[in-house]
Structure formats: C-alpha cells, structure tokens
Subunit: 534 residues, 2 copies
C-alpha cells in the first residue's frame, strides 16, 4: 500500500483566506492538532515576515511533536543576488525547522510579466537557492508555482524547473496549480509526464491544488493516481479566493476508496472533531454539508431511507460515518414516524415507551404545522422528548418579561428588558440593557440564573438565524428563530416560532440554555442532537 | 462543438437540502430565472405529492418559457401493478409537462434489501413504466438510481437496466451516483462502458452526481469527457447531505475550459447574478468562496498579485471574471462604479451630475462596509440617489419611537408601539398594537401619515427577510432587514441595517413607504429596482 505524505499549509496558505485570523498561541494549538491527526509536514510560514510569525517560530522551536515536522516557507533567491547573500534565504537557513519549502517560478508568462527574468536565470535561481539550503543542512521541498499553466504553455521548461530543483538536492518537487483553474484530466496528463521525466527518477513528487474550478479535491486525487506521493492542502479547504484543496476530503478519499495509506485507522477516526476544532478556533460555523465531516453528510430523511439503512447501511451510505469520526443523523421531518423518534430517543439515552413515542409523533406533526422544524434544532427536539417522558426539570418558571426598544429624539436607540421568573419558590426580577431586545433578554435571564447555575456563564450563543415563514404576509408573518449555542466543547441548536420575533427568540433562547444545562448535567455524554456540531 | 443538455433539479432534488423552503410562487420565479439562464430542462417534482406541488404544476402549466421545458418526476411502477394501473404513473401521464423523468433501481443490493424484487421483475418495471409514458405521448428521461454502485457490483446488469429503458423509448438514460461516493476515474470507466453498450447506440446518456466525496463537479466532467451529453445538477449545489453536483461550477468548466457548448455567451455572463438570486430567494448568504461566482473567487490580495494583474490578468486569474458575470477585487459591489450609478439614475429618471455620482459611489462603499446591500433593495437605492440630488422630500421628520413587547403573567404576548413625528410643522403622536414590534410600528406610523397621504393605505408589505450578518457573534450581531412592498401594481425592495433588529426594520419600513409615495407621485413609471418581484 503506497504511503502518502500529507503536507498541511493551513497556517500559511490557508491564512490567506477571508476572515482567517489566529494568534501565535492558537497556531500552536493547530499544529498540535495536526500532529495528532497524523499530518507529516506542517507548513508554518516565513520565520520573520512579521513579529507574530517570529513568535510562532520561537514557540514551535521549543515544542515537541509526535511525528509531525515543521516546514518553513520562503521564495527562491532574488534576481542578481547570490543565494548565500539573500537575506530571506539566510533567515530560512537559520531557523529551527528541519524542512524548508521554497517556491519559485515555472510559467514563462510570469517570468516575462511579473518577475522579469529570462528562463535560464530563473533556473539558476531555483538551483542555487535549493543547493544553498541543502548545504545548510535543510531538507528542501520545492514548490513549482503555476506549474500546470507553465506545463500547458511550455511542458519542457516546466519539467526542467523541477529537474533542476531535484538535481540541486530537493527531497520533494511539488506541482502547484496556483491559479486553481486546471481540471483533473489536465493534472493527470501533466503529472504522468513529470513522474516519468529523466531528471526526476527517485525524487518524491507532490501536488498542491486550489479550488477555483471546484476540482481541488479531484485534481489532488488525479495527481496521486499518476504517481504523486506528497499532497499539500489545508484543513476544511481554507485559503484565498475559493480555497485550497481540502485535506479533510482528500484523506478519506485516498484511504477509504483508493487504497492509499494516509493515517492510522484511529487517526482517521478523529478527522471530524479535528475539522470542527479548526472551525471553532477560527470562529467559523462548521459547514453542515461538508463531505465526510459535515453534520448533514450522513443525514437521512424520509421513511424509505431509514428502512434501507436499517436493512443495510450500505444501501444509502457511501462509507461508515464512524470511520471518519462522524455519525449518522436521522432528520426529523413531517414524514418521520415512530421508528425515527425511538431511534433519536435511544441516541439521547432517553427511555421512551411506545405510547410516548406516538405522542411525540403527533406533537411534532402539530408543531411542524405551526412552523417548527427540528432538523437544525436537535437541542429543542431532545427537550421535547424529555418533556414527554416527564423526566424534564425546567430551569425556572416564567412569570413575565418585557422588552422596550426606543429610538430617542437624539437619534440614539436604547434597549432594555425586564424578566420576572421563579426558581425553587423564589422570585427573581432582573433588568438589563442590550444592543437589541434579544440580547437584553438574554442578559437579564442569565443575570438571574447564573447565581444558581454558574455553568450558564460558559454557554455562548454562536449563531442566530431568523426566517420569516409566510413571507407573503409581510410583517404579520410567522417568524422562526434558530439559535446555535456552544459551551466551547459542543454545539446544539434550538428553535422558537411565533408571530412575534421577540417571543420566538425568547423561546429559542430558553431552549438553548435549558439544553445546555442538560448537557452539563449528563457528564461527558456526547451531544446527539441534529444541531450538534461535534 | 458538442452541445450539452443542462437539466436542473433544484426544485426537486435541491429542495431535499437542509433549510430549503420555497412557496409555489417562488418556485415559479426560480423556473423563469433558470429559463433565462438557458437551462434546457427544469425538473419541478411530482405533480401531486402535496397541495404545494399541485399548485406549482398548475402555475407552471399556465406559464410560457423562452426555451426551457418542464420535467415532472416520478418512480417506476409498483411491483405487481400494471403500469397503466399505477396511480402515480397516471398522475405523470395526465400532467401538462412534456417530459417525465422516471427513477428506478439498478443496484442488486437495493433490489434485495429495499425493494425486495428480483432482477427480472425490476427490468420489467423499468420497461413497462417507460413504455407506458411514451405511449401517453411523453418524452422520458430515465434516471438509473445508484448506477455506479450497481455497475461496480454487477456491470452487466446495471447496463441492462439502461438498455431496457432505451428500448422502451426513453429519450435519455441517466447514470446517477445517488450516494455520492464515486470518484472521477470510476465514473469515467463506467461511463465509457455505457456509451459503447450495444443497446445504447443513438441514445442520449446523462449524468447525475452528488458531492459526498467532494467530487460532484469533477465526476460530472469525467462523464461528459466519456460521452455523456445531458448533465443534471442544482444551482449552487443545493441538495441533501453534501449537496448535488453544482451546475454553477460545471457549466463554466465545460464551456470555458473543455470546449463544450452549454449556454450563449450572454447567458453565461448572467451566471453570477442568477446564482445569487437563488441564494437571496432561499435566504442563504451567498458563499463568498464559491468557484466562479463567489465574491472572493477573483479577489486579489497583496501587491504582487495586483501588479501581475495590471501587467496581464492571466497571470493570476484562471478566467476573465466578466465572462461569468463576476468581477475582480476584494469588495464587490454591483453599484460601486460611477457608470453603474449613472445608468441606474437614468433608469429612475433622476438627473445626476458627475460629482453627485461620485458621492453616491463613496456613500455606497461606506454603507456596504456597514452591511447594506442594494441588489435586492432597489427602492432604498433610488431613495439614496434622490437624497444625493437634493430632490428628495421626506414624508415626515422623526422625533422618536418606542416599541414594547411584553409576555404577561397569563402567557399572552402584548405588543405596542408609539411614534412621535412631525409633518409640515405639526406634531403627530400615535400608538398602535400589533402582532410584533414592526407590525405595531407600521400601524402607528400609517395611522399618522394616512390622513395626509391616503395612498399609503394601498401599500402592503409583502415580504420580510431578516439576515444576521455576522452569525458568529450570536445575538450581538448586525441585522439586515429586507422588505418588499407593493401597491398592488408594482413591487419594490428596501433595506435597513442595525445591531438592533427593530431599528433595522424601522429603517426598511420607512424606506418602503417613502419609496411607495415616490412611485405614486411619478405616475405609472415601471419600477426598475433589482428587488422588484415582477
């Protein structure tokens, strides 16, 4: 079984994506997570392009990893400067990283229009830069920028750029689809020429793709199919424009479907939590539709699917979700029956007898008719199950609440909410201001409850969606509010529906706190709600 | 140049995706947009699985399309029932659609575990169902469910399922990767067998993929490369689990990179607005990183990229973004150029000099930075133009407003709003109740203004959308409200943005009434706002 060397560039190329921002300490956490996942090489950036990168390299240099190695990233020497006098190459030579990745030009269009050097000088820049770092004791990965565009216009020259790097001692030469527009057949053809090239026998060949044509994953697979054994990409496909090739899809495709060895079975089983860890750290909502690891990736709707899965999961699942650390989801919908409710109750560890399950089905039907929708509100659905069993112990009893929003004569908007609730026979009245009515209600409610339930302080509202159900009715329409909450570890969804947007928000807010306390009260049981992001 | 038949299943398979919800009227708008885009076949669903579908088919049957045809969707006959006695096939035969798409089984695992019929009976079910609809005058597309899984386990039988459908008169046979786990090389190999099969000569072969392995686009391309000329998919890749194959990526890949003919150049140039129209209608935030149409798809960071682009855009762009209706840059705004502003002003009959147009551009940039977005808010944009010319005469001057929502101890929710405004030197104070805070504000405001402007009574709010812009911030995020209003004749959109949902709604509400009065004052000039529902 061919072993594939995984090279993650989340911390360098991935950080070019919109909204990507991590401190040096956070990058260190990412590096450890990638190491645990089984990534061989972690590209961390240029060791001194700014103080943050410098701090990161200092941190990384003191760190121990299980098996991952850190790669520093830089460019070939400047035109007209000797490699050993190029300050950036010197920085690379002096940094602790055992591996240096050098990027250089391959495409004549760039030589002419951007770099403004001739082809021979570019080859010397590649050769001397690689040779310098090898002489300084580094292992070198050579990234051939715009390789496929270069190959399309001048294949002989493009391959020569790689051969020169290999001859100078590069351990790996990487074909990069920098602009991301190449398609799988083109990648496959070019790669076949590369691995057969005279100067590249015995040299490891790699691939680096982007997703501008929606083919980043398939391009990487096509390259491996033709002999590449080093695959560069980012977690969750982060990166500029349309993103880099997504390692989270590439890895299971290679390992589960094409027979390559990427990770141990145990490491592969940690793929889903690792992918979600990155999203959480970057403050992104995990894409529910992401291949392999999304919460919808193995979601089933409707009776026939559920019956097929019961007969044989292979009927409707392309892989066993547990193999990548994901799980099957049975979606609650108008079509769902008692069997689905039983299945969900079992997953949540709730003992539900048959009459209770039948009542839940009726109740869900009635609620869905009124605009509820539990697909993305697993927390609320589990509370509904618990309420039906009588197991349910509400956090408080509501007496009343009031929210006031006022646009004052001076143009300022003031928001204030008051709640009156009862807990254990005691009455709590609290008022809070907020930047909106829901925010103010949330603050007032927590202000009262956090004295009794300190864990509530750990729960954040991470996602708030408002949908008007019968839009044709204008402002008199039904409003559905979906809230995602998190305690830093797990994510759950809740729902509220009302003609009144504030009432709908209140309902979702209460469910999300109630469910959060249920989770806390149930030790480390994994959250099984459909809305769970774990 | 081979012409590819595009088949869109957004309205059927796409609607299986999480959070997908459209009224029959909205689906009609989608169908028209797909028709304008140049889609050949629009799959609309089963003509009577519920009242909403029935209504949709009634609406579609009365409609005229430029070139698109509507396909109704159903299954092969039930086991043990003659095709002409199968009620569902009868519904298909009786519906107006000229094309019927039938799905049937191909994979022995499903025959055994799910359908529980033997292979020969399944072939008869396919043959008789297709023959029945052909005899009823329909053109039939046959969708072979789980084709690639079936082909992997029993290639001879899988191909026979297609041949039987073709022999019975199907115009097109489609290989479906229903579970979505097949990879491009496997699709290519299977498709090569299909197009060469003895019983399929002269029959159009199609492909239907899902994105469970992150290869939905590449799989579709691989099939076309091997001879498929009919491609099924959804706009923006909507669909259950990880989504269907994304037509928005497939179309430009086929047309711009592989030399197939899908759309006219003009239609291709409308791809980006069409993709965003679907997202807006479904209340999804358009994916900024989407290939070809995302606002980041041609975004450039850093000086070298910008310099390269200046020298030759091909250095850093895989295609010219204008070809798919997209544009270069980081911050994309439909209205950011002076030329666009002048064009819009001319359409609205507003005389705008060059310095005023420049001021509008600056103002729009600033407002878009704060979360405004005028694509669906043509009314607000026209007001912005009028305010800049000094032509603008506001309906009233606001002193203050206040909205109170109260959940009382008896469980009832009471909502009340008070407004204080000035019109022509006179102060109006009005209080109204409503079923929500925006409704109450609307009533109070109209109560005051309708005495002076009786036409306001004719304006209805017909559509109300709320989007949280930075969802990761929970209830403290920025809220964007889009309102569509109508005077029974014309529809216009307005926008409000604020941290506070009530303030954002108020702003949109005022714009929609102000604009409505402008329209009334300007005779029967057609409304040209992008948000127009016409």
């Amino acid at each position: 079984m061919t072993k594939i060397q995984l090279y993650d560039t989340t911390l360098r190329d991935g950080m070019q994506g919109e909204g990507m921002s991590l401190s040096a300490q956070e990058k260190l956490r990412v590096a450890h997570r990638l190491d645990e996942l089984g990534i061989a090489l972690i590209e961390a950036g240029f060791p001194s392009s700014n103080p943050k990168e410098l701090e990161l390299f200092e941190l990384l240099g003191r760190e121990r990893f299980g098996q991952a190695e850190v790669a520093a990233f830089g460019m070939t020497r400047r035109r007209g400067v000797a490699a050993d006098h190029d300050p950036a190459l010197r920085v690379l030579a002096d940094c602790f990283a055992p591996v240096c990745t050098l990027v250089g030009k391959t495409w004549r269009l760039h030589l002419e229009k951007v770099l403004k050097v001739d082809g021979e000088e570019n080859l010397r820049m590649i050769e001397e830069s690689v040779a310098f770092l090898v002489a300084e004791g580094k292992r070198v990965v050579y990234d051939a920028e715009h390789f496929f565009d270069g190959f399309a216009s001048d294949p002989e020259y493009a391959v020569r750029c790689l051969s020169v790097a290999a001859a100078a001692g590069a351990e790996t030469v990487v074909c990069c689809d920098t602009n991301g527009g190449t398609l799988p057949d083109q990648v496959g053809l070019a790669m076949a020429s590369v691995v057969e090239a005279a100067g590249l026998v015995g040299v490891r060949v790699g691939i680096h793709c982007h997703d501008d044509a929606g083919c980043g994953v398939a391009n990487s697979l096509a390259a491996v199919h033709r002999g590449a054994t080093h695959v560069q990409g980012t977690m969750n496909g982060y990166g500029e424009r349309c993103g880099n090739a997504n390692l989270v899809s590439i890895i299971p495709n290679l390992q589960l479907k094409l027979g390559y060895e990427c990770l141990t079975a145990e490491q592969l089983g940690a793929l889903t939590p690792a992918a979600h860890f990155l999203d959480e750290l970057l403050n992104f909502t995990p894409d529910p539709d992401q291949p392999y690891v999304g919460r919808n990736a193995f979601a089933h709707k409707g009776g026939m699917h559920v019956a097929g899965i019961a007969a044989d999961p292979a009927t409707f699942e392309h892989i066993d979700p547990a193999v990548v650390g994901n799980r099957r989801e049975v979606l609650i919908s108008e079509l769902s029956g008692k069997g689905t409710v039983h299945a969900r109750a079992r997953e949540a560890g709730i003992a539900l007898d048959d009459p209770a399950a039948a009542r839940v089905v009726e109740r869900v039907k009635e609620l869905e008719h009124r605009g509820y929708h539990y697909e993305a509100a697993g927390g609320s659905f589990e509370l509904l199950l618990r309420r039906e069993t009588g197991e349910y112990d509400p956090l408080f009893r509501l007496e009343s609440w009031r929210a006031i929003v006022e646009k004052r004569a001076d143009g300022r908007v003031e928001t204030e909410a008051t709640i009156k609730i009862w807990v254990d026979g005691e009455r709590y009245v609290r008022t809070a201001e907020g930047n909106g009515p829901v925010n103010a209600l949330d603050r007032a409610l927590r202000d009262a409850l956090v004295e009794i339930h300190p864990h509530l302080a750990d729960i954040d509202l991470v996602n708030f969606k408002v949908r008007i159900l019968d839009e044709a009715k204008g402002t008199g329409a039904i409003t559905r509010v979906l809230l995602d909450a998190s305690d830093g570890d797990q994510v759950w969804g809740s729902i509220g529906v009302s003609e009144n947007v504030i009432e709908a928000s209140w309902e979702a807010l209460v469910d999300s706190l109630e469910y959060g306390m249920q989770v806390a009260g149930l030790a480390a049981r994994p959250v099984r709600g459909t809305g769970s992001g774990s």
